[in-house]
């Protein structure tokens, strides 16, 4: 980043310097021509003019080259002094977010553990309350984790990559949701075809979980998973037969802390997009082929 800014400063200066040098050259050329006007046309004058102009060129270069070197160094110093505080501030912010997440998680862990331990001892009419307390603590902790993720720019260096077959992963994750889907009378159909992505398996699992979680909340009777390959990209399609997402909300639902409904942290889809973008892909929503909503995740895949 410092190198890029240095180059930019240097480029601006080089352009200014080139313009000034060209201006000086043209000005001097005219002055000499005017001076030599009376004798113009004689071979001596032409020779004198040429010699004078080549001295001018050399003098200008003799100024410009060291000047460029000095300005290069100055640009670098300037770039460093303006960027370093930003880098430091960002690093401090990141540390703060990580520290805040940790500090929030510890008491939430206590709440969850104590509530779960207390539940079996509680009289029946309170047992449910302990479940609610534990679940709320677990939900809050998940939201803290999502906020921590979203506090950082979606960047590839935050991933631990290895080849992952995303179709296999959709099967693994949909299995986790089978019981909940059955409870709600929903059918999950998976037609995804093998596609290998150089990705972070844990993050991609999180992405799929968030999409299944979303689909489960909005589907009427069915959730379908499918995939399309197109050149170097694989498109994962997770559709549900609930209501289509209104045009006005299609971008907003992927923003941090926007929730179209009361359930969930409202961060799930923002995390989906974050993870897709960290993999140099993207996520969006459109109308399903037979109505409903279709969430699309594009990921670059490995050529086989």
């Amino acid at each position: 980043m410092i190198a890029r800014l240095t180059l930019r400063y240097l480029l601006v200066f080089a352009i200014v310097l080139a313009l000034l040098s060209a201006g000086a050259y043209v000005f001097l050329a005219r002055e000499y021509l005017a001076l030599l006007q009376p004798a113009l046309g004689t071979p001596e004058a032409t020779q004198a003019y040429r010699a004078a102009m080549s001295r001018v060129t050399l003098t200008i270069l003799a100024f410009d080259i060291p000047l460029l070197a000095i300005v290069g160094l100055a640009s670098w110093l300037l770039a460093r002094s303006s960027i370093e505080p930003l880098v430091e501030a960002r690093e401090r912010e990141r540390e703060f977010a990580a520290d805040a997440a940790h500090r929030l998680r510890s008491p939430l862990a206590t709440i969850a553990a104590v509530a779960q331990a207390a539940k079996p001892e509680a009289p029946d009419r309170f047992a449910q309350n302990f479940d609610t307390i534990a679940q709320a603590a677990l939900d809050a902790s998940q939201a803290v984790g999502e906020l921590l993720t979203l506090s950082r720019p979606a960047a590839a260096q935050l991933l631990q990559r290895e080849p992952v077959d995303v179709a296999v992963l959709t099967k693994v994750v949909s299995k986790e949701f089978e019981a909940r889907a059955e409870q709600r009378g929903l059918l999950i159909t998976n037609r995804a075809q093998s596609a290998i992505v150089d990705g972070d398996e844990r993050r991609l699992r999180e992405l799929l979980r968030n999409l299944f979680d979303n689909a489960l909340r909005h589907a009427r009777t069915a959730i379908t998973v499918d995939s399309r390959k197109n050149g170097r990209s694989v498109y994962l399609l997770i559709s549900n037969d609930g209501d289509a997402v209104a045009q006005a909300y299609r971008e907003r639902i992927f923003e941090r802390a926007f929730s179209g409904d009361a359930q969930g942290s409202g961060l799930g889809l923002a995390v989906v997009r974050w993870i897709a973008q960290a993999h140099e892909g993207d996520a969006f929503v459109r109308d399903g082929e037979d109505g409903g909503a279709q969430f699309v995740v594009r990921l670059p895949c490995i050529q086989e």
Partner: protein, 218 residues
């Protein structure tokens, strides 16, 4: 249970005792290590953030002194580096706090099942050596840089040297799912492993068995 937060320690103790486990609680790393050295436990649950010696340090020290007790690390730090570090220190598994009771017991059952294996175990195939507990593979003494899944595949094949596995069976074992469709992921990993092994000079460790799949020669 090695945990400095008294409320969490008491809660986990209640959960464990309800399932008929006997529990000792240590509130800091040094006391925890002493317990591990003095007594043979079926498993230890170790918090990462502890006063004095932290959880990573405790695991490393315990393993260095020959403690074979399976260790389950509890961490509120969800960062990848932390989890990897925990396993590198000799812990058997990790659980992110806050946790669901069922998951805690599932992990405990899993690590105690694995406990009958010796801690220091070396698998060999030619010049390839795999330190199963240290999660490290070497070729002629030189460290082979492997990803987590690559390591698991090489370990699985080497542990079962001489047996040929189909792609489906490897997929099922490594990704814990039987995928009805066809996936090339197994071949991708095998070719990566072969490339790395070849670069390290290990020769042909993983053989193709035509019509079946892959195996490591005894």
């Amino acid at each position: 249970m090695i945990e400095d937060n008294a409320s969490v320690a008491a809660a986990v103790r209640t959960m464990l005792e309800r399932r008929k486990y006997a529990v000792d609680v240590a509130a800091d790393g040094d006391a925890g290590l002493e317990h591990l050295l003095r007594q043979q436990y079926d498993a230890a649950i170790v918090d990462v953030v502890l006063p004095g010696r932290d959880g990573f340090d405790l695991a490393r020290a315990a393993r260095a002194q020959g403690v074979q007790t399976p260790l389950l690390m509890l961490t509120a730090l969800d960062a990848v580096e932390n989890r990897v570090r925990g396993l590198d220190c000799g812990a058997d598994d990790y659980l992110v706090k806050p946790f669901v009771e069922e998951e805690l017991f599932a992990r405990l059952r899993a690590i105690t099942r694995r406990a009958d294996r010796p801690v220091r175990e070396t698998l060999r195939a030619g010049t390839l050596e795999i330190d199963a507990a240290g999660r490290e593979a070497t070729v002629a003494g030189k460290r082979l840089p492997l990803g987590a899944t690559e390591f698991r595949m090489l370990e699985f094949l080497t542990r079962n040297a001489g047996i040929a596995f189909t792609r489906e069976r490897l997929l099922e074992h490594l990704w814990e799912y039987d995928f009805e469709g066809s996936s090339n992921i197994v071949d991708v990993y095998v070719s990566q492993l072969r490339r790395k092994l070849k670069n390290a000079g290990a020769g042909e460790v993983i053989r193709t068995v035509w019509g079946v799949g892959y195996k490591v020669e005894v």
